[in-house]
């Protein structure tokens, strides 16, 4: 075994890899931990470590109607965006997943482009577009804008699960006399459902968290949670925001565990 010839170089490699990985791990974990600890502070500042611990900022959250209003709006927009993204995205994925036609590749690049292009530029473009066609800013324009930037997530996970689908299953279904639609409903759909669900989940989260598009497409009547929080933070460093953050982290962890169970989320994101 060559493993026994562990030289100093090999040791330094292992030490470097594990050292950097540990630093990376700390970088990933620390911020969430710090937020949770600070959200339980009994003081009025974001001092770390806090002078004492209490639930007061979570209690204060119950009366923060502006945040409630923004959260309700964000939730509504995220639900509709997810629904629209799944309907449009899954149908498009079915067509482009196995096609080698050049239009399929072109459409794939088009549908994926919102992922890499600066969403802020799209946000301002969408605002100009809606004001030009005379559609005033509302929940509807927000849903449309969010769908453009969220649909790529649904397409990515759906196309990936379609690519893993064994064609022999579909062929057997057809050879046993099933129609196209029956095969889709009873064979294809159950097999790609985890992929669709993972995509829908990420689309929901990214719509709920969207800033660059909401920034231009919302107004006072359609306030969105991330924007409200951002403005609160810009104006004064409010400890209430720490409590909101604590609630959001708790929800995210719960959602993450549920989605991992039912759709194997982590395998679908790679």
């Amino acid at each position: 075994m060559t493993r026994q010839r562990q030289s100093l170089g090999d040791l330094s490699f292992t030490a470097t890899i594990y050292g950097l990985a540990l630093a990376g791990l700390a970088l990933l974990l620390l911020p969430s931990l710090v937020v949770i600890i600070v959200s339980f502070t009994s003081g009025f500042s974001l001092k770390f470590p806090p002078p004492g611990y209490s639930w007061r900022w979570y209690v204060a959250l119950l009366d923060a109607w502006q945040l409630h209003f923004a959260a309700a709006n964000s939730f509504k927009v995220a639900c509709w965006t997810t629904l629209l993204s799944v309907v449009l995205g899954v149908s498009a994925s079915l067509a482009i997943a196995r096609s080698t036609h050049w239009t399929a590749r072109l459409l794939d690049s088009l549908f994926m482009s919102p992922l890499v292009l600066p969403a802020l530029a799209f946000g301002i473009a969408a605002l100009m577009f809606f004001s030009l066609i005379g559609l005033s800013i509302s929940i509807l324009t927000l849903i449309i804008g969010h769908t453009v930037v969220c649909v790529p997530y649904v397409i990515r996970t759906t196309v990936a699960s379609l690519a893993q689908l064994n064609p022999a299953l579909l062929e057997s279904s057809a050879s046993l006399g099933a129609s196209r639609f029956y095969t889709f409903r009873r064979v294809t759909l159950p097999l790609i459902r985890p992929g669709i669900m993972a995509g829908a989940f990420i689309a929901f989260m990214s719509s709920f968290d969207n800033v660059p598009v909401s920034l231009f497409l919302r107004d006072a009547r359609t306030d969105m949670l991330p924007i409200r929080m951002w403005q609160d933070l810009e104006n004064r460093l409010d400890v209430t925001i720490a409590a909101v953050s604590g609630v959001m982290i708790a929800f995210t962890i719960a959602a993450l565990i549920v989605m991992e169970r039912i759709s194997g989320l982590s395998r679908r994101l790679r």
Binding site: D10, M128, T147, I249, I253
Partner: protein, 305 residues
């Protein structure tokens, strides 16, 4: 596989999609391209048309939009301040991407070597930041880097500093914050690339007398290069447009492209100029994306050769 073994003479032909084209899929497994029509129509109306209007608005010489011309572009491209903002934004992206790669690659390396429960726990730790609200993640950095934050209070307790350091609203602080925010985008493609790596190759390299560093440089790195480039592309694209982190941790003193666009549009209502900066920013990002795509294609040929 004889039909696919063209990599020695024609590396660009040796990609999987080329080989896949040789077998035509049976009809039941493919769907009509018409199924893309609803989304394609949606994208033409609500994605391409707005971008076309953005271009149209940018081609006006004055804020009232009465005359056409290229003056807005001239105003940006001849102004050292504006060019500085663009340059600084693109440079921050490079720094964040480099830091993410430096910490993300070892993290992915360790992940594929863990088993069972530990691997699941690490995956949750990696995924959590991706799904936590970006405002929450950025807010954490305000707590960490602030005057009474964790860094300053630790350093003060250790007696390293007398007065709190100014860490918030500095470029260094912002790069670290952005790296944490975007790290999952780098780690996930790297995990995919590393888990596809044949472990026998590492053993073979070791058996032939190569140390870990040499094996990493000569065997691992070339093979995972497509994954590295994919991760870099996502991290870079996300970090230069990260409006929230840039404004909250970068603060008012450091101006970046997204805030510049927002200021011109919302505060000053200078729509043609805001549109022109957006177009320039889009073009710059497209140029970087194309560069990454070219590198990605080259790296795939390299890995197969």
């Amino acid at each position: 596989m004889i039909g696919c073994d063209v990599s020695i003479d024609y590396p660009h032909l040796a990609n999987p999609s080329f080989c896949a084209m040789q077998t035509t899929a049976p009809a039941i497994t493919t769907y009509d391209l018409k199924l893309t029509l609803p989304l394609a129509a949606f994208f033409v109306v609500f994605f391409l048309s707005p971008l076309a209007i953005l271009l149209y608005v940018s081609l006006h010489t004055d804020a009232a939009m009465t005359a056409h011309g290229l003056t807005q572009y001239g105003k940006f491209l001849l102004d050292p301040f504006s060019l500085g903002v663009l340059g600084r934004t693109l440079w921050v992206g490079v720094q964040v991407t480099a830091l993410c790669l430096l910490l993300g690659l070892p993290l992915a390396w360790v992940y594929v070597r863990l088993t069972g429960g530990l691997q699941t726990v690490l995956m949750v730790v990696i995924l959590l930041p991706l799904l936590t609200s970006v405002v929450v993640r950025t807010f954490a950095w305000i707590v960490i880097l602030g005057r009474q934050g964790i860094v300053n209070s630790t350093l003060a307790a250790l007696g390293v500093i007398d007065a709190p350091l100014r860490l918030l609203y500095t470029e260094g602080g912002m790069v670290v914050a952005l790296a944490q925010v975007q790290m999952p985008l780098m780690v996930l493609p790297l995990i995919t690339a590393l888990s596809r790596l044949d472990p026998n190759l590492l053993d073979a390299s070791a058996a032939l007398g190569a140390g870990h560093w040499r094996t990493f440089r000569r065997v691992v790195l070339p093979l995972i290069l497509p994954g590295v480039i994919a991760g870099c592309l996502l991290t870079y694209a996300a970090s230069i447009t990260a409006f929230i982190t840039q404004t909250l941790v970068g603060g008012g003193q450091l101006l970046f492209m997204p805030m510049y666009i927002y200021q011109q549009a919302s505060t000053l209502s200078n729509w043609p100029f805001a549109a022109a900066i957006s177009i320039i920013f889009l073009a710059a990002v497209l140029a970087v994306v194309s560069l990454f795509n070219v590198l990605g294609r080259l790296s795939k040929g390299y890995a197969h050769a």
